[in-house]
Symmetry: C2
Subunit: 548 residues, 2 copies
């Protein structure tokens, strides 16, 4: 068995290692265009920022190591120019010498990854403008920063863009971010990114949303950048991170099936339309486990998993990729944002019915020092309660809750199941009613009809004379510190004694800070004959939708 | 509807709050013997130790608050002496005045909790010997510590015992622990507690295992303690925490069904053998979700959940308790230990078949600063791969992995499912192959037969001449720093070239540091015609079983 793997980073290296474990006798050749294999892409921004001080730490496995440990034939600096499917050969070019040769395969694995998008902006090739994909990119960026940069512009506020922002600021650089969409982290729903936008501002980052770079020009201070709005910026460094496109040209040229966005189509065993050719990682199209639609999700975890599965299938092991659910996480200074499954905007775009709840719990018991706040959004199917997606933003413990909910999504669990989850509780780690349980209580109560709830953005989108009475059941001090405009304040503990002040013929939408008192108020009002709903997630959710 | 609840802490308070939300008109009476309701038992050790500085923080909800917010009739200092099931009345005694009266109920909820075990040891009632169950206990303990204690003895190294140890040491007290069993944290398997025992020693704690207190006597230095071994200790403070027994005397006297260990028997709707009487929390017997056997699990999370369910059932909502899986966690200085599901010793005791794997991963990507070590043990069914139990000990991230695996146990997932889990990865939070995935790879590989594995404690229990050849595939430096006695060292990278040094007619058990290189070695040996197994979890697992 002769296996040729094109690309030696996440998916390719995983396939090679798995293949060797399954077969000592297989010939396994890795053809890698760059000088490195198996490096830690996800660490690159932190190398630029100095948080990871030693370059070698990023080289998870060197070519020498893979040869020695796994008896792999690793050839770096080796670009594949064409695939001859009929002859089962690839044409290889040694970049250093220009020499070309053919290499035969029994099975071929394409792990060519994805390349940063480079939009057709004038001046994009000027010095000082960088993308970040590999060690060489990181070296160039770091050298530029080390040489002294006062002002940087980050184009694109996605996951890697925000990691670059944090690292540039850590290096003392005044940093501006432009993002074409009206929010940071476009995979998340906009309101869930409000705390991140506020946090970026607290760290002195200027965030320009709905904005893009239209031209770059050389300038005495480095680069002059013209934005869509007409505004001009100067920067000595521009980091471009507006997304990636699959590097599927080889596959296309070889006539393999490729999806509309360029991802190579594969079956559940990672086989392309040619059963002797597999494809794994950022270069492929995957199925979304929640929406069941094809999508492209450039994430390291799925890439590694796919590499393993391709090797398994080559050696006759059962191998079924279950799809990708897009679990992702990012640290932005002292905040964490994470998600798994479908977002509200995706569900809306697909016309899929859903319900949602927001909660704003502390990450562990409030009576123990150091509890940090988070906001958690749960999306679920109205008929079955099946969990469709989860997003969280906050401090410590965000990662844990999204992982727990990622497993719930994988298992097809419902909001009724997460009410019952028995999670580890002592006051340093959680609460007797964990945030995940709380989300389950609220969501399940909603579906059981105990807890009619309205979304604050829907209510406020109504003309004023069609809105329900907004009833703030917080304390007068909380009300005075900030309330939804036009709301009446009756604290929850005085509500039972003040029901006569409320209209019998107008719906009431009660709210509090996070939703708990509003829920109780709703229960009191409903049982007293009023028409009432709770504004889910309370004033904190209002503030996510309508920042100050 | 008139609901009387006996006991106003976790389960009782949850039942009351839920009942009020379901019905504004119900009369809800809480009869609580002590002066407090709804206090944070799990915070008490940290109040003694000063980590929680303000006493009020522990009073999650005061009687006044519950009256005002939830219109509950809360009567503290009120002991119930008897239940008249025929008349549906309880007899109440006001502890302050001695006055007794009867209180009628439609539905009665028993939430009387569990009391610390007090073994018949001479001198146990001497001043300076404390148990820790409620605020008053914590006040007494704290006053004693504040008054100046040089030496303390903690009897019982369970969860609360170890929390007390940490807090006494924090107060500068020389602390000794005696534990009757041969390990700390008896719910965990012994080898998984090795890192905790070592960590306690690092913090100057003397740990006496297989030991117990036999007598206490007054002494000039406070208390003289005689141990089973004959050794004598002095201490100014003794903290007793050897377990709890359900406070089910009321139920027994009323003729309700009670299990052999004193837990009140309830159905899945939390009803006792009298359908008008419910019981919740530490006082009941529950079903273990893994073993399906009755058990008693005094944990706050399940108690709260049961309280909610009892109220749900009273008001006609569907309510099915799914059983308890015993998810528990404890912080001991800078270490965390946690578990969910069945332990190996429980499975052995029940004669249930199982397989197990150990891994020793870092809690996040090793290339990012601050990765902390953990050891993770996974127990699963040999036929189906269903996860039966998980235990972990280490630093950061232990809580997350046990929560993820707790959900997997709840969902009935297998080791094949956890291979596929898509968990949140960026270098601060995890790895592209998360520890949970890694445990899945090892366990699933074992069941697929790719990866024959032996348990080191089983191998070393064999007579020397029946043992396989122990092959250490680590580097010479690692081997020299500590190895399993009698093992041959051939580093993995030299193994392929040195196969001729190995015996064809003797089984080989290879091992490395954590199991990865040993796995590769096993694959190389098997495919080269040797009889080979991997010692699962490598030298680190050996050291858990055989501490230095």
């Amino acid at each position: 068995m002769r296996i040729v793997i094109i690309g030696g980073v996440a998916g390719g290296a995983s396939a090679a290692a798995r293949a060797r474990r399954l077969s000592e006798s297989a010939e396994i050749v890795i053809l890698e265009r760059g000088p490195d294999v198996s490096f830690a892409n996800c660490g690159l921004p932190y190398y630029v920022g100095g948080e990871i001080a030693e370059r070698e730490k990023l080289l998870v496995a060197t070519p020498q190591f893979l040869r020695r440990r796994l008896n792999l034939d690793v050839r770096t600096g080796s670009q594949v120019d064409a695939i001859d499917r009929a002859a089962k050969r690839v044409q290889v070019r040694e970049l250093a010498t220009g020499r070309t040769y053919e290499e035969a395969y029994d099975k071929l694995i394409l792990a060519t990854g994805a390349a940063p998008l480079r939009p057709p902006i004038p001046g994009l090739d000027l010095p000082g403008i960088y993308t970040l994909r590999n060690m060489q990119d990181a070296d160039r960026l770091k050298a530029s920063v080390d040489a002294g940069v006062r002002e940087a512009l980050v184009v694109g506020a996605g996951f890697i863009g925000l990691e670059m922002v944090e690292n540039l600021v850590r290096r003392g650089i005044r940093t501006t971010v432009v993002e074409l969409q009206d929010q940071v982290l476009p995979p998340l729903d906009k309101e869930m990114t409000t705390p991140l936008a506020e946090h970026l501002a607290q760290h002195g980052v200027e965030l320009l949303l709905g904005e893009s770079a239209e031209a770059f020009e050389p300038a005495p201070e480095g680069l002059a950048v013209r934005l869509k709005s007409g505004r001009r910026l100067t920067a000595q460094l521009v980091s471009l991170g507006i997304g990636v496109r699959p590097e599927s040209q080889l596959a296309t040229a070889a006539g393999l099936d490729v999806g509309p966005r360029g991802g190579i189509r594969v079956n559940a065993s990672m086989q392309t339309s040619d059963p002797n050719i597999y494809a794994v990682g950022d270069v492929i199209e995957v199925q979304d486990v929640v929406t069941n639609l094809p999508t492209q999700v450039p994430l390291a975890g799925p890439a590694n998993r796919q590499g393993r599965l391709a090797a398994d299938h080559i050696f006759g092991n059962p191998a079924q990729y279950r799809g990708t659910q897009g679990t992702a996480i990012v640290k932005v200074f002292d905040r964490t944002a994470a998600m798994s499954g479908a977002s509200e905007k995706t569900l809306r775009r697909l016309g899929q019915t859903f319900r949602k709840v927001y909660i704003h719990p502390a990450h562990h018991a409030g009576y123990y020092p150091g509890a940090e706040a988070m906001s958690l959004k749960l999306l679920f199917a109205p008929e079955t309660g099946r969990i469709l997606g989860a997003q969280a933003v906050g401090g410590a413990g965000v990662d844990k809750r999204i992982d727990v909910l990622a497993v719930a999504i994988q298992a097809g669990m419902t909001v009724f199941d997460i009410e019952e989850m028995e999670l580890a509780y002592s006051p340093q780690y959680g609460s007797a009613k964990d945030p995940v349980n709380m989300a389950g209580f609220v969501a399940a109560g909603l579906l059981r009809g105990e807890h009619p709830q309205a979304d604050v953005e829907t209510i406020l989108a109504l003309p004023e004379d069609e809105r329900p009475l907004l009833l703030d059941v917080r304390t007068p001090a909380e009300h005075a510190a900030g309330a939804i405009p036009g709301s009446l304040n009756i604290p929850i503990d005085e509500l039972r004694a003040n029901l006569s002040r409320l209209p019998q013929n107008r719906p009431i939408a009660s709210y509090c800070q996070v939703g708990m008192r509003g829920y109780l108020a709703t229960r009191i009002l409903l049982q007293s004959g009023f028409s009432a709903v709770n504004l889910g997630g309370g004033y904190k959710t209002y503030r996510l939708h309508f920042p100050r």
